[in-house]
Symmetry: D2
Subunit: 437 residues, 4 copies
Amino acid sequence: MPELTLSPPLAARATFAARYTAVRAQTAALCRPLLPEDTVVQPVIDVSPPKWHLAHTTWFFETFLLQEHLPGYERFHPQYAYLFNSYYNSLGSRVNRADRGTISRPALADVYRYRAYVDEHMQRLLTDGDEARFAEVLELGLQHEQQHQELLVTDIKYILSTNPLAPSYFGPEHAAPAPQPALPAASWLPVPGGVGRIGFQPEAGDAPGFCFDNELDAHPVYVAPFELQNRLVTNAEYLAFVEAGGYQDFRYWLGEGWDRVQTEGWQAPLYWVRPEAAGGAWQRFTHHGLQPLDPAAPVTHISFYEADAYAHWAGARLPTEPEWELAARHFGADAAGGNFVESQRYDPRPLPADADPARCHQLLGDCWEWTYSAYHPYPGYRKAAGALGEYNGKFMINQLVLRGGSCATPESHIRLSYRNFFHADKRWQYTGIRLAR
Amino acid sequence: MPELTLSPPLAARATFAARYTAVRAQTAALCRPLLPEDTVVQPVIDVSPPKWHLAHTTWFFETFLLQEHLPGYERFHPQYAYLFNSYYNSLGSRVNRADRGTISRPALADVYRYRAYVDEHMQRLLTDGDEARFAEVLELGLQHEQQHQELLVTDIKYILSTNPLAPSYFGPEHAAPAPQPALPAASWLPVPGGVGRIGFQPEAGDAPGFCFDNELDAHPVYVAPFELQNRLVTNAEYLAFVEAGGYQDFRYWLGEGWDRVQTEGWQAPLYWVRPEAAGGAWQRFTHHGLQPLDPAAPVTHISFYEADAYAHWAGARLPTEPEWELAARHFGADAAGGNFVESQRYDPRPLPADADPARCHQLLGDCWEWTYSAYHPYPGYRKAAGALGEYNGKFMINQLVLRGGSCATPESHIRLSYRNFFHADKRWQYTGIRLAR
Amino acid sequence: MPELTLSPPLAARATFAARYTAVRAQTAALCRPLLPEDTVVQPVIDVSPPKWHLAHTTWFFETFLLQEHLPGYERFHPQYAYLFNSYYNSLGSRVNRADRGTISRPALADVYRYRAYVDEHMQRLLTDGDEARFAEVLELGLQHEQQHQELLVTDIKYILSTNPLAPSYFGPEHAAPAPQPALPAASWLPVPGGVGRIGFQPEAGDAPGFCFDNELDAHPVYVAPFELQNRLVTNAEYLAFVEAGGYQDFRYWLGEGWDRVQTEGWQAPLYWVRPEAAGGAWQRFTHHGLQPLDPAAPVTHISFYEADAYAHWAGARLPTEPEWELAARHFGADAAGGNFVESQRYDPRPLPADADPARCHQLLGDCWEWTYSAYHPYPGYRKAAGALGEYNGKFMINQLVLRGGSCATPESHIRLSYRNFFHADKRWQYTGIRLAR
Amino acid sequence: MPELTLSPPLAARATFAARYTAVRAQTAALCRPLLPEDTVVQPVIDVSPPKWHLAHTTWFFETFLLQEHLPGYERFHPQYAYLFNSYYNSLGSRVNRADRGTISRPALADVYRYRAYVDEHMQRLLTDGDEARFAEVLELGLQHEQQHQELLVTDIKYILSTNPLAPSYFGPEHAAPAPQPALPAASWLPVPGGVGRIGFQPEAGDAPGFCFDNELDAHPVYVAPFELQNRLVTNAEYLAFVEAGGYQDFRYWLGEGWDRVQTEGWQAPLYWVRPEAAGGAWQRFTHHGLQPLDPAAPVTHISFYEADAYAHWAGARLPTEPEWELAARHFGADAAGGNFVESQRYDPRPLPADADPARCHQLLGDCWEWTYSAYHPYPGYRKAAGALGEYNGKFMINQLVLRGGSCATPESHIRLSYRNFFHADKRWQYTGIRLAR
């Protein structure tokens, strides 16, 4: 299956040129199984057309690197900045986000030509340019493209899921993995309280080189002692909540969550369906089309509202962001070992946890873990100057922090201080539940 | 330009098999210049993706002909009926109309395979079957496909128009036609009053063989004597209305029309723009991309509200449906001679009228002419039994009748008794203005 | 019950001063049972607050009579024109229609002061002024106020109906009338075809003195012979449609009507409910609160969609506007005898028809009868100059004609040529069904 | 002006019966200047009709006290629970919140009868009942009614503000207070960092007796040293932001805030207008109608988005909730001295601060201060059992904490640990800005 060979996690010290090549190739690899038709559609506003992702990531390098640092560079096309700017007011007007799925041109082939053109010029810049002047923005461009790789995985899944044909992203020659039996009950692991530090801390062992501005400044926080579950909540556990009437009882839900349950008719996580053909049994839509629930695998594609309601029902709660990070730092090496996009070649999905009750599993990879903390600036947060100041700062309202990365995250992209963020009702990412108490 | 060779108007007495082949080929020919990406999108609910048109017209033959009349026929795909049913409640649930642009599969290539499969079985039916049993439905299927050919022309135009690249449907090697100078003023032609008959009347010279159920029964109507303009209103004439502030003065407008002007920000017909690059001059979007206004050509892509407001401003009014048809029958042979899809190979558009002030031009072809008559059933109208009863009857409310066909209509498809219908605010069809008084 | 004494039908030749006094008193009489709180609310956009009706009708006289024809007249308040203009663009900006229910001031008492102030000045004008100069507008003002009297009856009913307390408009001392047994089947009365004249025709016996501009010009129309039912469809007959599953079967419905049934959850006419307390029996909300269905009384508060669907189910159809008027003129004196607002002092509602199968009942009064004709201009229709040109003309799109007046119409206000109009989905007026075939 | 005599702040140790009487009387006093018409309307969903507030607070006592603790109590009316339940799912269905302004009955007079009936029974309960069994809920009822007193002040203001007549809440005999000259620049006061405790702490001097469940548990937090301004931002200071183009420059705004500026057309705080009659000068709508801006008074009626944008523009930031509370506890006695509803008899509004630069002013009273902290549960938060568990907990998402009370808050209702909360776009409360850095 050569077209799905994703690149291995990159050595931290690879050269920029090597990393640039590898990251860009990974994006294209993720799109290779798609038809041109698949790359155009936008079934909901959150889900961008794959063609748009391919072009937008390219526009990022063109705009922030080539335009700024490669003398004499000429844009590939005068209108592409209008077409592929995402949300940078500093860079002028653009296609309305909700209309991305109405834009059939440029053709997919033209977008690949655009990528090749920019890649060629980027190699020239990387060969001849003064790396010191643009290293920071280049690093940001690579991280940015990795973020869009994750979105490609989730957006492609959504696009295929809304199709009545329930198509598989993979060829039929690749069988879906078989479910595993349910896991033993999770254990509770104590985490000591006190003042600790959160945020990006290379001096404390965080891999040096890069973090987003929203991870700064590292700063002290106080948390009381608490306990954390040693693994993510599983499908089997969540199914018990569904079957106990969890979606019919307002008492478990935040008010706005309950409104959402009513207006959207939620009865289970996104992608769970009970097709008549399956005799009413729950199935889930996957990159392989419809498949049986995997009892041992973490429940995923749930909103914050569902995570919080489940926690109430289970007599527990979600961790806060400081609790999550201090616990992750406390459990140290155990925190690694989850599943990332590179390990999920034939079905990006969270995998069942190792059964060792004494260790904390899946803190990185598998599912983004909802915290009960708002995505607000850290003390000492400073927006970058210029257009890149719009990268993170302007989103710091009405969203919740998620931690730890997922099965769709590139392994080289995640770290303990990484702050992801979504609105409480979003479900199309690989989101999951870690309980605290 | 072989890929744009549309079929010539068909001899009225061609065999079904020949007509089937020709009509089906014409549909494919209209789509040939498109990329797969172009065939997927749906920029507004009225505009269906070309891929959907290709499949839906095929589904019509499969459902109403092959399923019913070809023994042992097996559907090409079990889900296609769900995907490509348009609005027949009798035939079960279907993709929500507003979601047609979110469906990337089946691929365009699969849709062509679907067409080939159905065509092959249709040939078998046409060769071996008992024509008498299905001739009526077959005829309807051909007429239905011709209706979708017109929609393909208008929907493709809309899809390309919303793209910031303003792409041309034709290759760049085909130059857009040059504008012509403005026409002399239109003349007023008297039409005698009295009781006349409207509706399909083969006994009165209407080409026999087919009409839609909404053209029946032919029946007497009384009209007072009136006058009709000898040609359609031109761009130059309509521009005078625009420049006189017609879109800023409520007095010319129906109340709901004025609301629409305000909420949609209408300032001119659909597709008229004043790009900065053109120094503020009005241009219009065409199948060749942006082009200068053609002063002599009929104004088109206007709503009923605009047609009515223009008529008020010009001190005239729109004709009623009975007036239009009785006038057309009165002017007889002169009514022919307009431009149809077959004559518009490299730019489907209404053409300037012949200048003879004594004759009535463009009654057929060029632009659909808004009448000030509601699309209601004729006396004696009877819905067909079964699903085909949903073809026309259920739309007989809140729409206005348009008459005469357009530059996107197949010539063999139109006749004097033909009733088209749209809501008063619709603008993406080739609609125009004929004044009466 | 003096506060509900409505004025008797006025002699056609009463003086303007007497008629002015009587009409104005009737408006106040209709509002007398209301609390100030009742006069403020607007539960849906169609229903205006009674306080607004009281003031708007007064504003009409102030604006079109006193301002124009009483020298030295000073407006009661500089802001009232902004507050109480309904829809006249010619007269400047105004409170958004949807916001009428958010305006608590002026107090109801102030509105009555406004009425008294204008009435006093109107008496001066009627005493001293040159009647010839303003008679036409004065007549229009009186007719306008009568139209709002009908709206007061229906709007008050709606306002009370949405209140969970289901309050009675009348004091508890007034018992609701008892239901009557079902009527024998309706008979079909033949109407001859041919060319006849519709529109206002004093020369043909229409009471001289006034018609709206939309009744002009009288003009010939051709209709084929047809039959009309001798009375309105009753609650008992309509209940059979409801119980036969009429609201669950798309085949009876126009497409937009079926959409409305789905999105609004219609299961019966407006105001029909099945309270648990009533053991599931249908009741209807009336000016007396909830009451049992009256089997013999005409079904009312139905949309055009429901009228049309019922007609389909019953194997009949609705008459067109020309059919209705020519039939009414054909049946002549029999057409009178219905129930109007003056005869309905203690429960405005349509009453059971007389049982004589040879006569045509209820053509005037009881219920407005939906026709299957669009509200479009008659040939020769001319808008008045100035602001009053907005009275009727700008509404001539997307509405259907209703004929004959209702139990909420003042008897002196209706005539055979009267054209009322509503959108096809409206239900809060006293609308009913007369079948044709 | 006896009808505006509000009760003085209550002695902390007053008996329940005395406090019940005083609190209930205050509610009625606030409504006394209103007409019945004013008490019915709901111009936006956030603003409830005063009649509803009067009844809902009464329903609270009836439901949670009389029903539970007064043997043999009979509800005043069987439907009032449906009419006046606000949001308690545990207590069954209710009038949709958006429809409160469509309910004209019960009349205002009936609502006062309802209040008298419940008050009479409450006095019986307070006289005869076992206080220990219901003291906690009674206290909650009183606090609840005080919360609605604040809402009455702000909702009445909003209702009057949307009226084109711009009416005054007070009689014309009460002149609006004159503006004061601008204040000297604010000073920055240092606040030490470290671990401190926030939340309700009677052991640390918080007035014992009552707190809401959302103030519990008191718990340690860490904050870094910071500085806080010694007073609220003034109108003069905010005007400089407006005039510097703050509402036209996206760079100062959170993304969702900028969207709101665009879609709502915000150009200044709520209630700031520039009437033509005032020659384009900014005025503000007050309980006295339109008045000039008061340069020295705190800016108020601003959203979180505006507070945050202003802070960015001013080179500062908003405090977090822990910062605010620890600062307030640090400045101790200085925190008192603001203006509350009792001190604002003839114009509820925030007043200019005392000019002493060494002291921290207005921490309590004048304006609620937006913090940049989400309204989430404190560690150890536990929802109450039963319906009262819905009082606070289900709102803990997507809202921001405001601290300190306002000029519309009863003085006896506020304390340093009090957590108020609103969505980031809300502007109709007396919200203001305290800068930190």
